[in-house]
Symmetry: C3
Subunit: 333 residues, 3 copies
Amino acid sequence: MDVNNTKLSLRFSATGLVVEGNSPAQRLISFIDTILRGVGQVMLQNNSYAGFIFLIGIFYNSALFGLAVLIGTAASTATAILLAVDRTQIRQGLFGFNGALVAIALLYFLEPNLLTWGYVIVACSFSTVFMAALLNLFNIWKLPTLTAPFILTTLCFVLACARFGRLHSTNLLPIAGLPQAATVEGIVTTSTVLEGLFNGIAQVFFQGNVITGVIFAIGLLVSSRLAFLTALVGSLTGVVLAWGMGAAEHAIRSGAFGFNCVLTAIAICSVFFILDTASAIYGLLAVITTAVAFAAISAALQPIGMPAMTAPFVIVVWLFVLASPVFPRLRRA
Amino acid sequence: MDVNNTKLSLRFSATGLVVEGNSPAQRLISFIDTILRGVGQVMLQNNSYAGFIFLIGIFYNSALFGLAVLIGTAASTATAILLAVDRTQIRQGLFGFNGALVAIALLYFLEPNLLTWGYVIVACSFSTVFMAALLNLFNIWKLPTLTAPFILTTLCFVLACARFGRLHSTNLLPIAGLPQAATVEGIVTTSTVLEGLFNGIAQVFFQGNVITGVIFAIGLLVSSRLAFLTALVGSLTGVVLAWGMGAAEHAIRSGAFGFNCVLTAIAICSVFFILDTASAIYGLLAVITTAVAFAAISAALQPIGMPAMTAPFVIVVWLFVLASPVFPRLRRA
Amino acid sequence: MDVNNTKLSLRFSATGLVVEGNSPAQRLISFIDTILRGVGQVMLQNNSYAGFIFLIGIFYNSALFGLAVLIGTAASTATAILLAVDRTQIRQGLFGFNGALVAIALLYFLEPNLLTWGYVIVACSFSTVFMAALLNLFNIWKLPTLTAPFILTTLCFVLACARFGRLHSTNLLPIAGLPQAATVEGIVTTSTVLEGLFNGIAQVFFQGNVITGVIFAIGLLVSSRLAFLTALVGSLTGVVLAWGMGAAEHAIRSGAFGFNCVLTAIAICSVFFILDTASAIYGLLAVITTAVAFAAISAALQPIGMPAMTAPFVIVVWLFVLASPVFPRLRRA
């Protein structure tokens, strides 16, 4: 290693480390920065400082999930490197965020043991293939993949529990059943709204912890003031809408109706469109639809006992981005 | 308003009103004509006379559904106007028909109250975004969107009942259950066939009323003799096939097996292909497959307690239109 | 007929008969060769000798299924000829293999009677339209259709049982139910592995017969040594993975975890990519994912009581082929 006798040639940019050169030490630092960007991309931030703060938030809640995020992001990124994916895309963390979420989801739903960890690594490698497939498929429409590879990989690897006797569920999966009309349950108070607001941000990474939500919000603020603001407004909109429509109090408090709205708000109002009156109203319609779609998709997946994850966000943002060329009022970022 | 002292400059064309100029009165008349075309497009007719007759048919059966169609078509069309969609497409009613059906479906499945009406307007606005998204997505294949935005918007907004305690179902949704092998129920008589024939046309707008079906048929006749003829043949084919395969008598009588066949027949034999021997046989295969697909999709949606709506028509016509470039025997209209 | 007084002008090539000229006899022989290639294409072999040997394997197990394959392949191919599909594609058997599988599947799940046979012919004709639709849809990505038309046609025509009282199930369909976490059932022995290995190959055509599996393997060997080898390795990988993950012994023995892996292995390592270290590892990841996807898709289809068929193979190979342009390490065949 020539770490000690050559200049490392790295500097801090606005979004993370810039590493020049190709020595083992430089490649390692570059890899670590890529991992952090991958974690940041879970909230659509190509920013390793944000990724680092998100990691702190996760470790604050659970060392197991923190470890899972690190290993998952590393496994999916390493698969992309081995298959010689274009370096620019890798460096933006685009082959990390799905792996981060796949790993955390599998360890949320499956008992951690050696078999599970091996299973996680296979799933994360597969998520990289899935990502590449969607990049090619969507290239025609310049449509972002968002977290679709994560959702479908997780669905596949968790559903397999129903056939694989050596995978043990943590019993955090929804119980398979037929959807029924809901009744209003519990009373929404100020604490429901406040906890729901930050849990909504925390749940993007499957973390049901208000402090973690606050740390995530700080991470967003470091990356982009607009992302921070839209995330809070998105989460609040989800909470208020769910309240108004009569969703269960415990679900509102847990952030279940917020995390998809957080992501939709960030995507529409701070990533894909330039914020103005038109896109603000467009974003509001998107966020409201996301909350409704969360209710619908959870119900639709009930017979197979699977959670909606970030599918509402992905589907709604796809539609609102695809639709935009037809709407000249909107300005694409 | 200069209605009284200027020439309105409008004339009646073969398909509706032609309005020139941009005064408030002219814009209002143009908007009304657009709404009527939107209602006409539910049966693939860009024709405001047909749309007007369809409206009469709906009001004959139910003032609530008549109002829903008007408000739904207006809401989705207004969203398109606000987002500055190309005027030609709006004027053809292309941003109206999904809203018409979304509104009628939501009021068919949900108790009408203020919350429901607000919910309907959000859903109709969303259906316009969905429509724009599919127009962009399908542009590569010149594939029509058909009523896909209606189906998926309705599925989303109705399924959400399972999480939103303040939405109340009218109990007209199928009861969620696991599909089971059918047995032959009831005896099909001439009245089953006759009622099924016209109910099949009426059910395109969720109307279970023979007279409404007859009025709709007259509306089609005003727009296109071929559309009228193919609609009747399509509905009859659905009824006869369902009878031959042993479907339940009450389902055949209600038009359940007809309405998708009506739409497929109109689409294949009077809209997308020039009618000749090849396209007539092609259309027959499409209509038969539509009836089978209706049975299959109703069964597939049973665990989540949702109806098939016009999904069989949409999927079958997509396939038959997509396939056509491979079949030189067929002439595209 | 000028069969007796002209030269037939046919010769045996490496993949089947080459027929020149257009006399009735020549067209008949050409049609028979096309049927055999259609049967061969079920295992991705454009080879009429392989198709002939597969037919022997099927007739060895069941004359009914042998007849079904012949009639299904003929019906779907004839539909393509009547609709004037490009002759080159027809001659490769591309409009035969879905019909072969649709016919065998419908006769596996439905009691054979006159109505069923008519139903089979309609379904096989429809599978040709489906095939043409996917050829057009996928042209942009140069993505193969694989057996998707078979799977979706069969799902549609079998699910319709739940509404059509005159179709009688053979009770070989999975019982509709809600998926539950599995436990390890039965003890895997050498005989489980050996039977599973060959049943896995036999199950590609719904045949649960070890000797049929051996005959199919011989058919593959005649067409391509690489296809033979990858099929065996694929089947074995499926068996071993399912064993390691704790799948039920009877399912492993029956070849349930093998047949999709067989097809994925043939597709990735002998059809779509040039075999080298990178594609071998890529193929292994694909085969492992296929086995997991089989478990997941079977569970997902449990509420509607339908089998996964070859959907895991189709979805996984689509993803791995779509992803490949992003991975310069891989060389497309």
